[in-house]
């Protein structure tokens, strides 16, 4: 008897890829059906995924779960606000209230046996008082009081509460560093797409990226096998923002730390882009995580390091204006 997997937020580029990958696995891995749910239809093809248009912020999600006999819930509808469509408060509504409704439905459901949460390394915040690498047990020191990091922390709190109330349900929380891939919409991908990169004067943050293949493999593994716990997912190693900019051949515009968010936002708007509101803190202090638990407890070895992930991403990008000066061949 195969299992039915519910994936939330499938209109998002990453969730769409995860749901399609799960659907393609088919019966061999014990997955009978994959149901995707979101408030708007996905842009791309979902393959064998059954799409249900519903809002997880409403009790409708409970009915969907009952009708479809869902066994595994993959919650991927926790995302930073994308300014083009919704504002910050709408994103918060979707992230936090959506999670609460979904968990309420899960708690009622007798079928659900596993919950996989696609969280983010944002839960660690970012501040100068942080250790160089975050382990899963490190408490955030700062930078989780507003915006998406706050949402992510609250979502995780609710999920932990759910795990306490339903100890029979396996809960896997995957904290992903931002996926860097030309097709996956993440704040950093959008930021790197700008012709010039506003940076914080006097700071050179350490950044980490996750390769799409690794991210998909980790989610597949978490759905197919039983891997309860909290795990950081990122490519090995770090890259500095200055290094990234030079490899992209794009000039950085150093802007003063005070008022960086608004100045950089304005600069990026001038260039025709949008800046994710929570990015400025990451661009000040950076963030890197330890993936020891992913290796030793989860049992997954990322195929691509941060640098390899970036190089693959760069290969698909148009070379920046400074490529002639120092761009790598």
């Amino acid at each position: 008897m195969g299992r039915v997997v519910l994936v939330t937020g499938v209109a998002g580029t990453f969730a769409a890829r995860v749901s399609r990958t799960l659907a393609e696995l088919g019966d061999d891995s014990g997955i009978d059906r994959v149901v995707g749910i979101d408030t708007r239809p996905p842009d791309g093809d979902l393959g064998g995924v059954k799409f249900v248009r519903a809002d997880i912020r409403t009790p409708v999600v409970g009915k969907v779960m009952a009708v479809e006999d869902v066994d595994v819930v993959v919650h991927l509808d926790v995302n930073p606000s994308d300014l083009g469509r919704r504002g910050g408060s709408a994103a918060k509504e979707r992230n936090v209230i959506g999670t609460m409704q979904l968990l309420a439905a899960c708690q009622r459901s007798a079928n659900v046996s596993k919950l996989v949460l696609g969280s983010s390394t944002s839960v660690y915040g970012t501040s100068p008082r942080d250790p160089a690498l975050f382990t899963e047990s490190t408490a955030p020191q700062g930078g989780v009081r507003v915006g998406f990091p706050k949402d992510a922390v609250e979502v995780e709190t609710y999920v932990r509460g759910f795990a306490r109330r339903r100890p029979d349900v396996l809960v896997t929380m995957l904290r992903l560093a931002q996926v860097l891939h030309a097709d996956i919409e993440t704040p950093l991908r959008n930021y790197f797409a700008n012709p010039m990169l506003p940076s914080v004067l006097g700071f050179d943050p350490r950044l980490q990226f996750t390769h799409l293949d690794d991210a998909l493999a980790v989610f597949t593994e978490a759905v197919v096998s039983d891997r309860p716990g909290t795990f950081n997912v990122a490519g090995e190693g770090v890259m500095l923002l200055s290094q990234v900019a030079r490899r992209l051949g794009k000039p950085v515009i150093p802007l003063p730390p005070l008022g960086f968010a608004s100045l950089a936002g304005r600069a990026i708007r001038t260039m025709g882009g949008e800046m994710s509101p929570d990015l400025h803190r990451l661009l000040t202090y950076g963030r890197a995580v330890d993936i020891f638990a992913l290796r030793d407890i989860f049992g997954f070895e990322p195929t691509y390091s941060t640098e390899q992930t970036f190089e693959q991403f760069r290969a698909g990008q148009r070379p920046g204006v400074l490529s002639g000066v120092g761009g790598k061949a």
């Binding site: 100068p128 006097g202 050179d204 770090v238 490899r247 202090y285 640098e307 120092g326 790598k328």
Partner: protein, 411 residues
């Protein structure tokens, strides 16, 4: 020829010169605006070059004297050739020949070279300077340097997960060398106490208002033992722009147990200054009196990682900026632990920021082994306090001995 030149560039635009026949309006006004606009550049310029410096004269104006003096030049240089021909002489002769050749090609052309920047002379001068600075194989070294620079500019370098960049550290070590060796006349003792490989925790006294002692200790370790010191710094360091960025690049990280243990278990040499701001911000009157040694966290980290503790005593840092006053209220306002007043700062402004040239001695003491204890012993506070006191006492006694050895702080 002249017509050809005129068509290039700005020729014909109102108010802009064409370099050969009509000077720009700016040049005209410089030459005393009332004179005719058709005054050629050649006449305006001769006042600039000194007549008795034929070599340095600009090309067209002093062409004839230069031609005449050219044959005179080499004979004057003849007498020194009596000594043995060294590599430098050969290089100089080669440069002279190159210059001669350059001059010949210049004079061989039709005699209407416009006045302007003497590019080839500058090139020859640069080549000579490069030879003098980098030695006779300067081309190879310059090429290597440019290749390295290109690699940096293309982002083709690697940093570890702490953000440590070995290339930058290498360059900074070189840059600090004159400060340490010539200005502070650094003397390093007991460098053999730093293990050649494997982790170790260097524990040092902290002083000097500005944490220069960390920089110099890092330099000494790199220079004399060849290993990279990974300093553990306060969070303020990483909150400051530029400072935090640089600190990460030279291998520093936050002084917390997680980072300390990560460094030590991976076999790195970590450095810690447990006195912290109490140490560097103490008044000059209390110099060389150790403050409280933190809460003993460094001992527990070393014990968990089972690495030795090397006590480091630094003499000399206390005198670089004698702290005679403090403005606590202003410091609080700025969010810094203290606002120093030294005899020269802020009195002399930026000049007051030059460290006084005290004599420095850094002694690396005998390692205190922690592998005799179990890693679980790190949970025994009494043991931690005892070991902390042992390290502190060792450093304090060494400081007194070194002070006697050093004698006068400055001479």
């Amino acid at each position: 020829m002249t017509d050809e030149r005129r068509t290039i560039g700005t020729g014909g635009q109102a108010g802009r010169g064409n370099r050969s026949t009509s000077p720009s309006s700016a040049a005209r006004s410089l030459a005393g605006g009332s004179s005719g606009a058709k005054k050629p550049v050649k006449k305006a310029k001769p006042s600039a070059p000194k007549p008795d410096a034929p070599k340095a004269a600009t090309k067209p104006a002093a062409k004839k004297p230069a031609q005449k003096s050219a044959p005179q030049g080499p004979p004057k240089q003849e007498p020194p050739r009596l000594r043995a021909v060294t590599e430098e002489d050969a290089a100089e002769a080669a440069a002279a020949a190159a210059e001669e050749a350059a001059r010949k090609t210049r004079t061989a052309g039709p005699g209407s070279m416009p006045a302007g920047i003497p590019l080839d002379e500058i090139l020859v001068a640069v080549a000579q300077a490069a030879q003098r600075v980098l030695g006779s194989d300067w081309e190879g070294r310059l090429a290597a340097f440019v290749a390295a620079l290109r690699k940096r500019l293309s982002g083709d370098f690697e940093v570890d997960e702490f953000g440590f960049d070995p290339q930058i550290t290498e360059i900074l070590t070189e840059a600090v060398e004159p400060l340490a060796e010539k200005w502070f006349r650094l003397e390093v003792r007991g460098i053999e106490n730093i293990p050649a490989e494997g982790g170790a925790l260097l524990v040092a006294n902290h002083s000097g208002t500005v944490p220069l002692d960390g920089v110099i200790t890092g330099y000494a370790v790199k220079k004399y033992s060849g290993r990279n010191l990974r300093p553990l710094g306060a969070d303020l360091v990483f909150a400051l722009p530029f400072v935090g960025q640089m600190a990460r690049k030279v291998g520093a990280t936050l002084a917390c147990t997680a980072d300390a243990e990560r460094l030590l278990t991976t076999g790195e040499l970590a450095g810690v200054w447990p006195e912290g701001f109490k140490g560097i911000g103490k008044p000059f009157a209390e110099r060389y009196k150790l403050q409280r040694f933190g809460r003993g966290g460094f001992v527990s980290s070393a014990m968990r990682a089972q690495v030795p503790i090397v006590p480091v005593s630094i003499v000399g840092a206390e005198e670089i900026y004698p702290l005679v006053g403090n403005v606590p209220s202003l410091a609080r306002l700025l969010g810094i632990p203290y606002l120093p007043i030294t005899p020269f700062f802020p009195l002399l402004g930026p000049l007051g920021m030059i460290p006084l040239p005290s004599k420095w001695i850094i002694e690396f003491g005998e390692p205190i082994r922690t592998d005799a204890y179990e890693p679980e012993a790190a949970d025994d506070p009494m043991l931690l306090f005892n070991v902390t006191d042992q390290v502190r006492e060792t450093i304090q006694q060494t400081l007194y001995a070194l002070l006697v050895d050093r004698g006068n702080a400055f001479f």
